[in-house]
């Protein structure tokens, strides 16, 4: 409990405050918004991969579903954005429920199957025969509800809640039982942990997080195409950020996003063609030399990070 309070004070409060206040000092608000999106997505990956060991390679599927669920609720049902946001998140959770049978698969198979599932959703959404429902490949325009200030504010709230969830998972009994499943599901089950229920819950929370931020993303950018919100780079970035910092920690994914997405925006503006190369080599180096990420390294050096 005490550790939870400490983690909140060290990570959640300052990060949320920074996200809320920085727009007053720095004018490229969209860059800040993208930071928030990746902070949330990296923590979402952390919830499912860090605490259960299942790598959601197709995590973007939930993000895109959230974005489309939100947009279609606005277009067809004329709902208020905040209500539509709930519907978008519900759509993502529904998709996650549909995909729960994938948990029967082990490591790499789960990753590939979830990747395929994200592609499948994208193919359905962008199919021209569904033009009347999803606008097919022709894209979404939500100019009638465009409101960058409010949607930015909602994104900050989602960030705070998501960080709160990881603090809870790290310090609670529930998080502990999840990690015991990850390390050895058989002994966890023998110790009385309801393996299937705990894992499904983590999966749904993770999908909910991605669905919510996907909906806000759609609200904030307001004009987009299916390939915008189903781009594989969302999954890839979120996973790499989380891995770099170290999963199953609170600060790991945060460090990953701030450091790597920061570099991305610096290199991305001066020498973008080398970016993918640097990223690829970085991933390889991580796996070979630093499989646990940065946070365990810092801890080994005696720096106590949450």
């Amino acid at each position: 409990m005490l550790r939870g309070v400490r983690d909140s004070l060290v990570v959640v409060v300052p990060l949320t405050a920074a996200a809320a206040l920085l727009p007053f000092a720095y004018s490229n608000e969209l860059l800040l918004f993208n930071f928030i999106v990746f902070l949330v997505l990296a923590q979402g990956v952390n919830v499912i991969y860090g605490f259960t060991g299942y790598l959601p390679f197709g995590y973007v599927g939930f993000f895109g579903t959230g974005a489309y669920g939100f947009s279609l609720a606005v277009i067809h049902l004329h709902l208020f954005p905040l209500v539509a946001l709930g519907l978008g998140a519900a759509a993502a959770v529904l998709l996650a429920l549909l995909l729960t049978p994938l948990f029967r698969l082990s490591g790499a198979y789960f990753a590939i199957a979830s990747f395929a599932a994200a592609f499948a959703v994208y193919e359905v959404v962008s199919n021209p025969h569904l033009d009347a429902i999803t606008k097919g490949p022709y894209g979404i325009s939500l100019s009638q509800i465009y409101n960058p200030q409010l949607s930015y504010g909602v994104a900050v709230v989602i960030l705070a809640v998501t960080l709160g969830v990881t603090v809870y998972l790290k310090n609670s009994r529930f998080g502990l039982s999840l990690r015991s499943i990850r390390d050895d599901s058989l002994s966890a089950a023998m110790a009385g942990v309801n393996v299937v229920r705990a894992r499904t819950l983590a999966w749904l929370i993770s999908a909910l997080i991605a669905g919510l931020i996907g909906g806000v993303f759609a609200w904030y950018v307001s004009v987009f195409y299916p390939e915008t919100v189903f781009g594989a780079e969302f999954s890839v970035f979120a996973i790499v950020f989380a891995l770099f910092g170290g999963v199953a920690t609170v600060s790991g994914p945060v460090l990953g996003v701030i450091f790597l997405y920061g570099i991305y925006n610096v290199i991305g503006i001066s020498a973008p063609q080398y970016f993918q190369l640097i990223y690829g080599l970085l991933i390889m180096g991580l796996v070979l030399f630093l499989p646990g990420g940065v946070v365990p390294l810092l801890r080994r050096w005696g720096i106590d990070v949450p």
Binding site: S106, I112, A113, A117, Q273, V287
Partner: protein
């Protein structure tokens, strides 16, 4: 007429997809690692064929032999560099997945820097002019040749695995790595050869990619890896004939979809992959992939 055409075209494409999946299957079977850069080696094979033709007018059939030798040799040092550290780790399957994803990104980036982003294709006449008629249906000559080359490569792998000493050892490692180690087999050497062979097969499949798939771009790799994965998931692991079966089932269903439900055709590999993984993962793969 449309149905027969879809079936025949599917069979030809099936042979090609079998070739594409074979290398991935071999690497997975021997090392239990997922080579997510498999499709990128196919891409490199395609660009090798393109440049060999552009620079010295080499016919793709000869380029295939050149690529075979080059990629097999490349595979040995790559194996010793990347794979043994992985196998020592706690969860090699998962780590290999991430490691080779990074490798795939790096290859794609280097290729984009070296070759530029545009699509490259080879003239179809290099593999024979005009259509070839099979059972009354007209097919591009290049398809027929690619199909024949694929069949030859699959046959060669079959002969290697079942009628050579090294192939026998390879199958022993596939069966049980620990036991093979205990009986004194040089597991790393056998694995390195299999890794090189896997890359070489990807390279050959790549050489024919401009003819079968239309063109080559540096970013084509990940999609090809996924398609190859679908093929080996449908077929069974460690058995070249199983991969051929997987390839043909995949090829025919793809052509069938393109003929009758063209706009939904690209949905097929993903749905097929998920369904088969869920319905018969262990049966089709010949190994346990489920857990609690």
């Amino acid at each position: 007429m449309m149905l027969e055409y879809a079936l025949l075209a599917g069979a030809i494409f099936g042979l090609y997809f079998a070739l594409a999946g074979l290398g991935l299957n071999l690497v997975f079977g021997v090392m239990r690692i997922v080579n997510l850069a498999h499709g990128d080696f196919m891409m490199l094979g395609a660009f090798s064929a393109f440049w060999l033709f552009r620079l010295i007018h080499l016919n793709p059939l000869f380029s295939a032999l050149f690529v075979l030798a080059l990629f097999a040799l490349l595979g040995l040092p790559l194996y010793y560099l990347l794979v043994p550290p992985l196998l020592r780790a706690k969860d090699p399957e998962m780590l290999s997945f991430i490691l080779f994803f990074g490798f795939s990104q790096a290859i794609e980036a280097l290729a984009a820097i070296a070759f530029g982003p545009s699509e490259r294709s080879l003239p179809g006449r290099l593999l024979g002019r005009g259509p070839i008629r099979i059972l009354g249906q007209a097919f591009p000559a290049a398809w027929t040749w690619s199909g024949i080359a694929s069949a030859a490569a699959v046959l060669a792998v079959y002969l290697y695995l079942y009628h050579s000493r090294l192939g026998y050892l390879t199958r022993a490692v596939m069966e049980d790595r620990e036991e093979a180690l205990a009986t004194g087999i040089d597991v790393h050497f056998v694995s390195a050869i299999a890794f090189g062979l896997g890359l070489a097969l990807a390279g050959i499949a790549g050489v024919f990619a401009p003819f079968m798939l239309g063109s080559a771009t540096p970013s084509m790799g990940l999609g090809l890896t996924l398609q190859s994965f679908v093929v080996i998931v449908i077929g069974s692991l460690g058995n070249p004939l199983g991969t051929v079966l997987g390839g043909i089932i995949y090829g025919v269903s793809l052509m069938f979809m393109q003929t009758y439900f063209s706009s939904w055709a690209s949905l097929l590999p993903y749905v097929l992959l998920i369904l088969i993984l869920l319905v018969r993962p262990s049966g089709l793969l010949g190994r346990q992939v489920r857990r609690a």
